[in-house]
């Protein structure tokens, strides 16, 4: 009769756990995986590309995480990520971290994303809002003070204003606060914040006193329940409604921006990563439309594909990364600055 089977099993687990700890990490996976992480704003686009690619080349393995733009860059610059997705260009400090770690990346703008400011369809009083008004509404000084529509603009009804916006740990929040209040992350806190744009859409769609901001994609998917507010960049300028055309042309300012994927240059040596990224760069325009992103125009698209083919590393954005003033075409040298 066997003395014991339980005991070796018990010991084995303890020993193997310790051995694992001692070795400091896992062996390489049996089959290579294209690892993608980053912005939740870019997630739907990346997911769609991965899904289409999976259909075309079923045995390629792609995983996508949503650690956020900053989280994606961190993993990329630590060298344990193939592709980082981003709803803003890489910041100089992040790029420096990559350089220090010896990680080179290829920067690929893949589409435009617009932020939509939306109200309940029964809201008849808001015709348009200026950036200055949005700033007064959203800056942190407004917290606990600007609580009624009438305080925003005389003539608006005297009723409570209920605010909905991106969670403070999202790229959309960074972007919105950066261009509206003037300082990234400068925002009032007394609003319904969610990472989940769906939550925001539901919140605004269910509340006649609401005002919220979220990705254009989510607005477009739910536009029967919402009304988009035209935005006036300057006091005397025109009020621009977010549409695909105005976003692509750069008219809808400042709330439209390109979104990116950043590919680890070393990963591009792997055939599975290269094939996937090339597929992404080539076909992104086909699905961007369906998902409410605005596709790049053909000239820019061609230039981007050329950058990938040449494996041109580094960022098109310098210290003025957050300033959206220059269009992509200008940065790529297709238009005069």
């Amino acid at each position: 009769m066997r003395r014991s089977r339980l005991l070796p099993a018990c010991g084995l687990v303890v020993v193997s756990t310790l051995a694992l700890a001692a070795c400091g990490g896992p062996p390489a996976p049996v089959r290579a995986v294209v690892t993608i992480d980053g912005s939740s704003t870019v997630y739907p686009l990346t997911e769609a590309m991965a899904e289409e690619y999976h259909r075309a080349v079923p045995d390629t393995r792609v995983t996508i995480g949503v650690a956020g733009t900053g989280g994606g860059f961190r993993r990329l610059c630590r060298g344990n990520l193939d592709v980082a997705t981003a709803s803003r260009p890489i910041a100089p400090a992040e790029a420096a971290a990559c350089r220090t770690a010896g990680v080179a990346f290829v920067e690929l703008p893949v589409a435009y994303d617009g932020i939509t400011v939306a109200v309940h369809p029964s809201n008849t009083w808001v015709d348009a809002l200026g950036v200055e008004e949005l700033r007064r509404l959203w800056r942190h000084e407004a917290q606990g003070r600007l609580l009624r529509w009438s305080q925003l603009r005389p003539g608006f009804p005297d009723r409570e204003i209920h605010l909905f916006g991106a969670g403070a740990d999202s790229g959309t929040f960074d972007y919105f606060t950066g261009v509206i209040t003037g300082a990234p992350r400068d925002s009032r806190g007394d609003y319904t914040a969610s990472e989940d744009d769906n939550t925001l859409v539901q919140g605004v769609a269910g509340d006649p006193g609401a005002l919220g901001y979220f990705g254009f994609a989510y607005f477009e998917a739910n536009q029967e329940y919402l009304r988009a507010v035209p935005i006036r960049l300057r006091e005397d300028g025109p009020a621009v409604l977010p549409t695909r055309d105005t976003i692509r042309s750069g008219e809808y300012q400042p709330l439209a921006r390109p979104v990116f994927v950043y590919v680890n240059a070393r990963s591009l040596d792997r055939p599975d990563v290269r094939a996937f990224v090339e597929y992404y760069a080539t076909h992104v325009g086909d699905v961007a439309n369906d998902l409410g992103y605005v596709p790049l125009d053909d000239r820019v698209h061609a230039a981007i594909r050329a950058r990938l083919a040449a494996r041109q590393t580094g960022s098109l954005y310098g210290v003025e990364a957050a300033a959206p003033a220059r269009t992509l075409a200008a940065r790529l040298g297709l238009d005069p600055p």
Partner: protein
């Protein structure tokens, strides 16, 4: 006296109605999920991969991920948990250490699961750099499961009559021979019942996996312990966070799959318990 009697009846009625109410809420919950999700459950859904289109999205990687997680977590927690329970129950002196370990286990069982997520994040994901692998997820769940396994194993061991141990020890069997050949086999059915209840607890665990860093898109069945993974409750949570009623249906359908998995594991537990009690009566 009449008043008291009427009050007595009132409480009787009230107690019964509250019970009925609670069970109706359960019924309502199940009805809601079935109503929302049953239309989506199909072979294609069970064998499909994630998709941005709700109607073509499937649950296979999540289902497979959950199975992997449970098997791995059980393989880690079971030997250690049973060993620990045997130490406490069979070898336990009433010493200070045994007492400390006992209090410790009772309290571990009450630690919120999300705290285990923080432990897994700090220990497995960051210190040991296991990243988003099944090993990291399973190890986290194994720690969560450990106190449950110890507690149920101890209960199972306690149900073994002392006379069985005495019979074996009196024959000159060592403590371990007695434990291995007599006590554990006798405790096995109850032990398995408890184990399956612990398993069904971790099948539904979401928060710790989110804290250690769940991936949103994993379109493949894991092929090994170092593979990336997703799990049923995470997939359900991810679908819940999406706009559109289609994904809500998917979430409901995912819940149905999860509930069926739980139903199966729990039925096995009940079957084992019944079998063991029949054997005991014989």
């Amino acid at each position: 006296m009449i008043g008291a009697r009427r009050l007595d009846g009132l409480v009787h009625g009230l107690g019964a109605s509250v019970l009925v109410l609670a069970l109706s809420a359960l019924g309502l919950l199940l009805w809601d999920v079935v109503h929302d999700g049953v239309g989506r459950v199909s072979w294609a859904f069970l064998t499909g991969y994630p998709s941005r289109r709700a109607a073509t999205a499937g649950i296979l990687p999540a289902l497979a991920g959950s199975v992997w997680l449970v098997v791995m977590a059980t393989a880690m927690a079971l030997p250690v948990g049973v060993g620990g329970a045997v130490a406490l129950e069979e070898y336990g002196s009433r010493g200070r250490w045994a007492r400390l370990i006992e209090i410790n286990i009772a309290n571990l069982a009450g630690v919120p699961s999300i705290i285990y997520g923080l432990l897994g994040l700090g220990l497995f994901v960051r210190a040991l750099r296991l990243e988003h692998s099944l090993v990291a997820g399973a190890a986290t769940l194994a720690l969560l499961m450990l106190p449950l396994v110890i507690i149920t194993t101890r209960e199972a061991l306690r149900s073994v009559p002392v006379s069985l141990r005495e019979a074996s020890l009196a024959l000159g069997a060592t403590k371990w021979q007695t434990t291995w050949h007599q006590v554990l086999p006798d405790a096995l059915p109850r032990l398995l019942t408890g184990l399956i209840l612990a398993v069904s607890r971790i099948v539904g665990e979401t928060a710790p996996l989110i804290v250690i860093g769940a991936l949103a898109y994993v379109p493949f069945v894991p092929d090994g312990p170092w593979s990336s993974f997703t799990a049923l409750p995470i997939q359900i949570f991810a679908w819940l966070a999406r706009p559109g009623t289609g994904f809500r249906e998917n979430a409901a359908a995912g819940i149905l799959v999860l509930l069926v998995v739980l139903l199966i594991t729990n039925s096995v537990a009940i079957w084992l318990r019944d079998r063991s009690s029949r054997r005991r009566d014989a």
